[in-house]
């Protein structure tokens, strides 16, 4: 496969965009709100839910992630094997995932099993058992996963980058935690996180597929109304990446060095968000059309994948990127990236680049509407970021409105190669570590 890595980077950078679908606001008798897109072509219903908080509010690094692995490992009357057996026999896809700022859940079912699916989802959210056997089993799986992460230079680089950039802040910790913190998690902590943070006031819901508003309303009540009305409040402070300009080397006996680089970027509510988004597409977000790919890959064959993306968190914004080049030439790749960073900051893009970016970003918008689950995820992101229920209709207008002056202004504000902090994992040659 050729460009999977690039494509993934692209997806990560994408804000939500729109398509030919109608979003309805559905409010249940007990006041639970969901955004719904009806699609009766296939007998499938997909639900996506997010609770604000995530790993940033956890009592111990890795706790929220461990909760996400355990909600479907026994709940209510079902022990772990019985719960998983129900899911498998009814072909229900149900799962949870912790992010830095949110805790997410997903549900996908055939229409014929809809009621049973929502019931299992309710049990997982409100009556997870945290029995001893699954707690120890999931802990061992997380520890095995952490050990595997140490074999992945990309994961090692990202961990080191965040540890350095956000020292002293919850964002410094990887969502999956560290072996010692995962080993220390107690059942009481798991239960407390689920009871405290899966609350209605931090919750947003998206539903897509073969279901009407009238069918959805009672299911919203039966599934979510028993959750606590409020969480304790999120007190995570605003922050910005530290150690600008630092280069850190993590020595690993690999033939190729993997680098992560980045600096402060816009948050999602930044007035210049769309200008920054277009700018990043031209710089390093646009796969084969980006300046970074042109210089590093196409002209010189220095990397299979080189990219940048905007990474907006609730309490900090980032523009970050990655590259992987053989040890002897990684310094050359990083020099080229810094040069492009500077050139974009000083000059901005050309008229042609701006026009091409706009036609891509607006024209590719409906490609995201490929599956019911993908659309459900979009509905949740729109609510988390407070984009409005008409966002799908308005989004391309926001892109179209970006001017060359906007992009130049935001590039000048955001991009400074002297501020880039870089982590390199491998045995790089000709590279001076500053830390």
């Amino acid at each position: 496969m050729r460009r999977i890595l690039v494509l993934l980077a692209l997806l990560a950078a994408w804000p939500l965009s729109a398509g030919a679908v109608t979003v309805e606001r559905v409010v249940s008798p007990k006041g639970i709100e969901a955004w719904l897109v009806q699609d009766h072509a296939n007998p499938i219903v997909a639900l996506s839910v997010a609770f604000r908080g995530g790993a940033a509010v956890e009592a111990r690094p890795g706790l929220a992630n461990m909760v996400s692995g355990l909600l479907d490992e026994g709940a209510g009357p079902y022990d772990s094997q019985a719960f998983q057996g129900r899911l498998e026999d009814l072909a229900i896809d149900l799962g949870f995932e912790a992010g830095r700022d949110e805790f997410r859940g997903r549900l996908k079912t055939l229409s014929e099993n809809r009621d049973a699916a929502f019931e299992l989802f309710r049990l997982a959210l409100t009556q997870a058992r945290f029995d001893k056997e699954p707690v120890e089993r999931i802990r061992s799986q997380i520890l095995a996963g952490l050990a595997r992460e140490l074999q992945s230079p990309e994961a090692v680089a990202a961990r080191a980058w965040f540890r350095q950039a956000f020292a002293g802040h919850p964002y410094a910790s990887a969502v999956r935690g560290e072996p010692e913190t995962v080993k220390a998690v107690t059942t009481a902590e798991l239960k407390a996180y689920a009871r405290t943070w899966l609350a209605r006031d931090g919750m947003v819901i998206g539903v897509v597929g073969d279901i009407t508003p009238e069918q959805l309303k009672p299911l919203l009540d039966s599934t979510f109304a028993a959750l606590p009305a409020r969480h304790p409040g999120i007190t995570v402070p605003e922050t910005a990446p530290k150690a600008p300009g630092a280069t850190m080397v993590v020595t690993k006996d690999n033939p190729q060095s993997v680098a992560m680089f980045g600096e402060a970027g816009p948050k999602r509510d930044d007035p210049d968000w769309y200008a920054a988004y277009v700018m990043n597409y031209i710089l390093g977000g646009g796969g084969f059309s980006s300046r970074l790919t042109e210089q590093v890959r196409e002209k010189r064959g220095l990397a299979y994948s080189v990219y940048s993306y905007l990474s907006p968190y609730d309490r900090a914004g980032l523009i970050v990127g990655g590259v992987a080049t053989q040890n002897a030439r990684i310094a050359e790749s990083l020099d080229l990236i810094r040069a492009e960073w500077r050139r974009m900051g000083e000059e901005g893009p050309s008229e042609t680049e701006l026009a091409d970016a706009k036609t891509y970003l607006t024209g590719s918008f409906p490609l995201q509407l490929d599956s019911t689950a993908a659309i459900a995820g979009l509905l949740v992101a729109m609510q988390l970021d407070d984009l409005g229920i008409d966002y799908l209709d308005k989004r391309n207008g926001y892109i179209e409105a970006v001017t060359l002056a906007d992009v130049r202004r935001v590039a000048k504000r955001l991009l400074d190669p002297a501020r880039l902090s870089v982590v390199v994992v491998g045995k790089p040659e000709g590279l001076a570590a500053t830390r």
């Binding site: 089993r137 190729q256 993997v258 064959g301 990397a303 299979y304 409906p366 490929d370």
Partner: protein, 453 residues
């Protein structure tokens, strides 16, 4: 390895169905142009988008000896220009029109695709047809792209001990058949590939009569047919050579591949058996083996997971995999990861005990029924995404299956009996036709822990 990872992912999406309601899977329309190009259309009108793919019946297993990696390098070079579309312009034109494009190579096929607004189908069809016959390569571009591929190999394989082990297990599993070669190629051979190698391969294999066009999305079959006639229709067919692959001798000796690497933090164990594919003489076993894989390793209640991970608590994970889509033979695999402190030989003994239970006492009728029911629902999910339809059909047609085979999948799975599953398990789970792969950390004396400066 690419092929296997990719195919297992498809299988997870598609595990096709049984049940009277699901008489068909994707309901495609097909026809063949005068020059031999097969055209397959799947309608999906949810969004105004289309997936346009061209699949060639050629892959890494068709490479000449000593030229490993040429199929994949050529895939990269297909973006390097024709008289109409200059080097590097293809993807930029697609992007400028709001589309995304990519390509991939396996042992048996090479495929190119664009996902784009339905009203741009004609544009991408014109460009894809153009590069089917008119590729021109510049030596400098070939050399640069070869460096890109060598970096890709370092990223995917050389930087990853578990990927290195997989590569060496494959090389040991096939004694003579070219599936033993990695799709991306051996580094030393890739480094020696040149422009002529790529053009030779291109001229030999890239022709309309050796390709399949798959279009899925918001389109009508008549409209696709007219466009295909216009752009692909005029292309001249070629005499394409037969795909001659060296036969595999009977396997009579079990093999063991152990990789000890200082970079390993999490050990693992796996075993891969030679197995029939959809194209084997005993292809009925291919359906029974999908049911067997589901029972052995298909989820949290599967035999291996339940015994090793839940009940005995000695493994962190356990799984089974099987992909029957191959032009020649396929493989059936099982794997497990030990929990901290569990010696590898203890884990291995426990896995082997489960295998002996499967081939000895056997699989029950109830287990077979449950597995078939679980597989059933996934057809509906597979229909949800237009990309899935295009990929499944393209892979099937380049690996010796017909559209009818894909559409009959639900019925054939429904027909699998407990006797068939047990017979397939006993035939395939034969250690002599297997490779056991073990990933271990290098003994501590020589291991270098990562150091932060």
């Amino acid at each position: 390895m690419f092929i296997r990872v990719f195919a297992v992912a498809l299988l997870a999406l598609v595990p096709v169905v049984s049940g009277p309601a699901a008489a068909q899977v994707f309901n495609p329309t097909t026809h063949t142009l005068g020059n031999g190009l097969q055209v397959v259309v799947v309608e999906n009108h949810r969004a105004p988008i289309v997936s346009h793919m061209v699949w060639y019946r050629v892959g890494a297993a068709d490479e000449p000896p000593g030229k490993s990696g040429i199929a994949h390098l050529l895939e990269h070079l297909m973006f390097k220009g024709t008289p109409e579309v200059p080097p590097g312009a293809f993807s930029k034109i697609v992007a400028r029109n709001g589309g995304r494009d990519n390509a991939f190579t396996s042992s048996d096929y090479t495929a190119y695709f664009q996902n784009i607004a339905a009203d741009r189908l004609e544009l991408v069809m014109k460009m894809e047809a153009d590069r089917m016959r008119n590729l021109t390569l510049d030596e400098a571009n070939v050399v640069t792209e070869r460096d890109v591929v060598l970096e890709e190999r370092r990223s995917r394989t050389d930087n990853s001990p578990s990927a290195l082990l997989s590569e060496r297990v494959e090389a040991a599993l096939y004694l003579n058949h070219p599936y033993r070669r990695p799709v991306i190629g051996w580094a030393s051979e890739v480094a020696a590939l040149n422009r002529e190698d790529a053009l030779d391969y291109y001229r030999r294999w890239y022709a309309p009569n050796n390709a399949i066009l798959v279009v899925a999305g918001d389109v009508r079959p008549e409209e696709v047919k007219a466009l295909a006639e216009k752009y692909y229709g005029p292309l001249k067919p070629e005499t394409v050579p037969p795909r001659l692959r060296a036969a595999e001798p009977p396997q009579v000796a079990a093999r063991r591949v152990v990789l000890e690497d200082a970079r390993v933090q999490q050990p693992s164990w796996n075993r891969t058996y030679i197995a029939p594919s959809y194209t084997s003489p005993d292809k009925a076993q291919a359906y029974a083996l999908q049911v067997l894989a589901e029972i052995m390793g298909g989820g949290a209640t599967s035999r291996l997971y339940k015994a090793l991970v839940v009940e005995q608590g000695i493994a962190a994970g356990a799984s089974a995999w099987y992909d029957p889509s191959a032009l020649d033979m396929a493989s059936f695999g099982i794997g497990a990861t030990p929990r901290p402190g569990v010696p590898m030989d203890r884990l291995e003994a426990a896995v082997l005990k489960e295998l002996a239970r499967a081939t000895g006492a056997g699989i029950s009728a109830a287990e077979v029924e449950r597995a078939k029911t679980r597989l059933k629902a996934n057809v509906v999910y597979a229909r949800d995404s237009l990309h899935t339809a295009a990929r499944v059909l393209g892979e099937a047609l380049t690996t010796g299956q017909s559209v009818a085979d894909v559409e009959a999948w639900p019925q054939r799975i429904a027909q699998v009996t407990p006797e068939a599953v047990n017979a397939a398990a006993r035939a395939v789970l034969d250690e002599r036709a297997s490779v056991t792969g073990v990933l271990l950390p290098k003994p501590i004396a020589t291991a270098a822990a990562p150091v932060e400066n």
